[in-house]
């Protein structure tokens, strides 16, 4: 056998005792030092076990390869009752499964609003009573139904859903339509303006978008996201470029499909910089789902919060959730709100980070770094550090400011445990009291124990 090591000039990666690295420096041998530190407490034995798993390397290559090759396309807009078979009284919500008793303020607020919207209660008090009694009410996680929802993420039968299909692997994923900012259901507000807006979305926005999309045909979200990244979006807290591109794609068809409603629909979409977020989330969900259920893979396929807990799911561990207490985001607050008004982290929008967007792509979005409480070098450092815990770089999603380097994609549980680096998440902040709405935006850190618990489970899988 030929050992390539013996052929050329030695170039050495050193990890460990600095004296051995210095000995190479004294010999003028080129070397790259690793800034090694011990892994998260309690993980060394599990790390060795999981890395020794003969399936792992190929499983991760397969799983992340599926994630990277997904080709999400927006194919339709339809009511949840049709596409998800939702019955009256059944609600999906963000994050891992949660009960009414354990639900936070904004989650309860959104469920109350959804009860009012569906006509299952005449007043917030009655809605609350019925939800608390559980009488005829079923709650389930969006993620269990190929669905994601921002913030509270509550989905009820009459809401219209974006339908995104993966042209590569054949999967489908859904997300509701974005209501805009401020007093909105997803942030836990349920006042009359909230319910009225939802009605209009169901009666006008949904059907018009459906008609328009049926004229244009499927819309390539992979290419749209790639362009938006190069226009300063990170696709979680900044969707301005992506929303503009979406409007540009759809506007002529909207005018043709519904001339008398086109102006109000376009005005609504154009007035909401986050309109694209929900389409991006469905695209992320369908891509992450393509990577599910690969035995032996330590790839994270979902990160989601229900306002009480932060949960992850891992490709090689099926639909099992690993949860820990949701943290309170650190960021900037609107108006007179402050940290005391903030609810713990909530929403399925971390599906963007799961596929390497959002906080992972911060370096692409210098325009919003101050909004989430940092400066441009912080944003570059955030993205750079995420390459340490991810399996791949995206071939299509690139960051101009990093020399068009692909975004860091595919969180590996073992790399999180080894480096102690937790995923960087950009997020909105909901008010803790039901009915408040949004109070700010910022950065949040997932609880480390969800990754160490998943790692332990991988030793048994």
């Amino acid at each position: 056998m030929t050992l390539s090591m013996l052929l050329g000039e030695p170039r050495v990666i050193t990890v460990g005792a600095s004296v051995l690295g210095e000995a190479l420096d004294q010999q003028a041998v080129p070397r790259a030092p690793v800034d090694w530190r011990p892994p998260l407490p309690g993980t060394p034995a599990a790390l060795a076990r999981v890395l020794a798993d003969p399936r792992r390397e190929r499983a991760n290559a397969l799983a992340v390869g599926r994630l990277l090759s997904a080709r999400p396309r927006l194919v339709d807009v339809r009511p949840a009752r049709d596409v998800l078979g939702l019955e009256p009284g059944t609600f999906f919500h963000a994050g891992p499964p949660v009960t009414w008793e354990r639900a936070s303020g904004p989650m309860r607020g959104a469920l109350i609003g959804a009860m009012l919207f569906e006509g299952l209660a005449d007043s917030p008090e009655e809605a609350e009573r019925r939800l608390a009694a559980g009488d005829g009410i079923t709650l389930d996680s969006c993620h269990h139904h190929r669905t994601v929802g921002p913030m509270a993420g509550v989905v009820s039968p009459s809401m219209w859903m974006l339908e995104v299909a993966d042209a590569e692997h054949g999967g489908t994923a859904y997300c509701s339509l974005n209501e805009g900012l401020g007093k909105v259901l997803r942030y836990g507000a349920y006042g009359s303006e909230v319910v009225e807006r939802l009605r209009w979305m169901g009666e006008v926005l949904g059907p018009v978008l459906q008609a328009a999309l049926r004229r244009t045909g499927p819309l390539d979200l992979r290419s749209l996201i790639a362009q938006a990244l190069q226009m300063g979006d990170e696709l979680h807290n900044r969707n301005r470029a992506a929303t503009s591109l979406l409007v540009r794609e759809l506007a002529p068809a909207i005018v043709e499909a519904a001339p008398e409603r086109a102006a109000e629909v376009l005005r609504f979409v154009n007035g909401n910089d986050h309109f694209f977020l929900n389409a991006g989330m469905a695209a992320a969900k369908v891509s992450a789902d393509a990577a599910r259920n690969v035995p032996g893979s330590s790839l994270v396929v979902a990160m989601a919060r229900n306002g009480t807990e932060f949960g992850i799911q891992v490709s090689g561990l099926g639909d099992r959730w690993f949860t820990g207490p949701a943290g309170v985001p650190d960021g900037l607050y609107l108006g007179a709100y402050g940290p005391g008004d903030a609810n713990p982290d909530i929403g399925d929008s971390t599906i963007t980070e799961t596929v390497g967007l959002g906080g992972f792509a911060m370096a692409a979005a210098p325009a919003i770094v101050r909004f989430v409480g940092g400066d441009v070098p912080d944003a570059i450092a955030a993205t750079t550090s995420m390459y340490e815990i991810t399996l791949a770089e995206h071939p299509a999603y690139q960051i101009p400011g990093l020399g068009f380097r692909g975004t860091p994609v595919g969180i590996d549980v073992t790399l999180v445990a080894r480096t102690g680096l937790l995923p960087v998440v950009n997020t909105g902040i909901a008010g803790r009291v039901a009915g408040t709405g949004q109070v700010g935006a910022g950065l949040v850190t997932p609880p480390a124990e969800v990754f160490t618990a998943a790692l332990q489970a991988l030793t048994q899988a």
């Binding site: 050992l3 390539s4 030695p10 050495v12 005792a17 530190r37 892994p39 450092a381 073992t414 790399l415």
Partner: protein
């Protein structure tokens, strides 16, 4: 007296850097005692033995224990500590450090390497080595305390990818002139070495160098490679690689006695080049004799191996105490001396949570100071990675032992090119009263004579 005792949770520095920091602090005139180390059980016990009140801590925390003559002196020592710790961290701290890769995997993606050198604590070594193998790199694992089943997993993976795992517990390698780990400065030449024994290989290659014969590559395979369990996985690969290597004309295999069925399997490999086996054990040639055979095969005359005689007292009946840093040198010396109590301070049980005795002389100096009579035989290994000036701490301890009437014999393993200076180290140890030999076998024979064993 003022004490500072601190446990810094989750702060990590490697044991060698911390040993240097401890030494620098202890060297301050107003500092009575200083121990800065990871809070392993061993180190916490050491601090408690020094009289420090150490709170609960885990091996992942940094333990700081300083005793100074007064509060002000303690404060100055603490400030110096922080300066030393920052200076010692890769990149000097802050943003530069943030951008260094955090895993071998990440480093291998960012930089075009040919080999990785892993020396993290043993329980973490497999993971980093896995990264290297998966990136298509050969890897040297200096770390010890790696479970044998993981060694086997790693070596099988490496074979499938055509790369070599050197180790675990591989102390030395020389790849195309670059010394990895503990490595003597060797001239380039025709001899390729496969070594399941680090210090054994250092003895062989140092003597070859003293005879004017150079080395193409020295491939360590780890002390367990030729055991029945590991089955010579890396040895077979390394032999094949050197057989293909155009710079190598003759191969030397250095090992403790292998498992018989493994020895047979290794022997069955058909190689085009001659192989000289140095398999240390009862009834086998010692390392010096093997080197002399290699020289014979190459047609090079055997020189007189340098030595520096001393007025050692004759100590009939001993006792003989062997204080070694190299395991194979220790075994060889014990076999030749035929009597005495020998300790290998490089063994796993002495290196958990602290640096190898070739870097950190403390435990061995302590043992030397405790010898009251008879003879002491010890090794001093020079080269890159080893103590930059072993005579500095050892010569005074040798002189002290000689004053107590102890006969001191040193096996000095090194070459003329080594940074410590072979001749100056020998001279200082010799002036302190030790008889010094560049051949460990010769040193052991001399010790045997002194205690009058036949």
């Amino acid at each position: 007296m003022s004490d500072l005792v601190e446990v810094r949770a989750g702060v990590y520095h490697d044991s060698v850097s911390l040993m240097r920091v401890s030494q620098a602090l202890a060297a301050r005139t107003d500092v009575e005692a200083a121990l800065v180390a990871m809070a392993t059980e061993l180190n916490v016990d050491l601090a408690r033995d020094l009289g420090f009140a150490v709170p609960a801590a885990t091996g992942g925390d940094l333990l700081v224990a300083i005793r100074a003559s007064g509060d002000e002196q303690l404060e100055q020592a603490a400030a110096e500590l922080d300066r030393l710790l920052t200076a010692g961290s890769p990149g000097g701290g802050s943003r530069a450090r943030d951008q260094l890769p955090r895993t071998t995997r990440s480093a291998s993606r960012a930089w075009d390497a040919t080999v990785a050198l892993v020396s993290v604590p043993g329980e973490h070594a497999f993971v980093e080595a896995c990264d290297a193998v998966e990136a298509g790199l050969s890897v040297m694992i200096f770390s010890d305390n790696v479970p044998v089943e993981l060694e086997i997993v790693l070596k099988d993976r490496a074979r499938d990818r055509g790369v070599l795992v050197m180790g675990p517990d591989c102390g030395t390698a020389v790849i195309g002139g670059a010394g990895l780990g503990f490595a003597n400065v060797l001239r380039p030449g025709p001899v390729g070495v496969v070594a399941a024994s680090g210090t054994g290989a250092q003895q062989v290659t140092s003597l070859l160098d003293l005879a004017g014969v150079g080395v193409s590559h020295l491939l360590g395979v780890g002390g367990r490679d030729l055991s029945a369990q590991v089955g010579g996985r890396s040895t077979k690969q390394a032999l094949l690689a050197l057989d293909e290597d155009p710079a190598t004309e003759l191969i030397v295999l250095v090992s403790k006695p292998p498992a018989p069925e493994v020895a047979a399997a290794v022997q069955e490999q058909s190689l085009a080049k001659p192989v000289v086996r140095a398999l240390l054990g009862p009834g086998q040639d010692d390392l010096t004799t093997t080197v002399e055979k290699v020289l014979g095969a190459l047609g090079v005359p055997v020189p007189e191996w340098p030595s520096w005689a001393a007025e050692n007292p004759s100590v009939p009946g001993g006792p003989l105490r062997g204080l070694y840093s190299g395991g194979t040198l220790c075994t060889e010396a014990a076999l030749i001396a035929g009597a005495g109590e020998f300790t290998d301070f490089g063994d796993d049980e002495y290196t958990r949570g602290r640096a190898h005795p070739m870097i950190d002389p403390a435990l061995r100096l302590e043992a030397l100071a405790a010898v009251e009579s008879g003879a002491v035989l010890l090794d001093v290994v020079l080269g890159h990675g080893a103590d930059p000036d072993p005579a500095a701490s050892l010569a005074p301890a040798v002189a002290g032992a000689c004053e107590r009437g102890v006969a001191v014999v040193v096996a000095l393993v090194g070459t003329e090119g080594d940074p410590q200076g072979l001749r100056s180290q020998a001279a200082r140890l010799n002036e302190a009263g030790a008889a010094v030999f560049t051949s460990n076998a010769a040193a052991a024979r001399h010790a045997r004579l002194l205690i009058g064993a036949s």
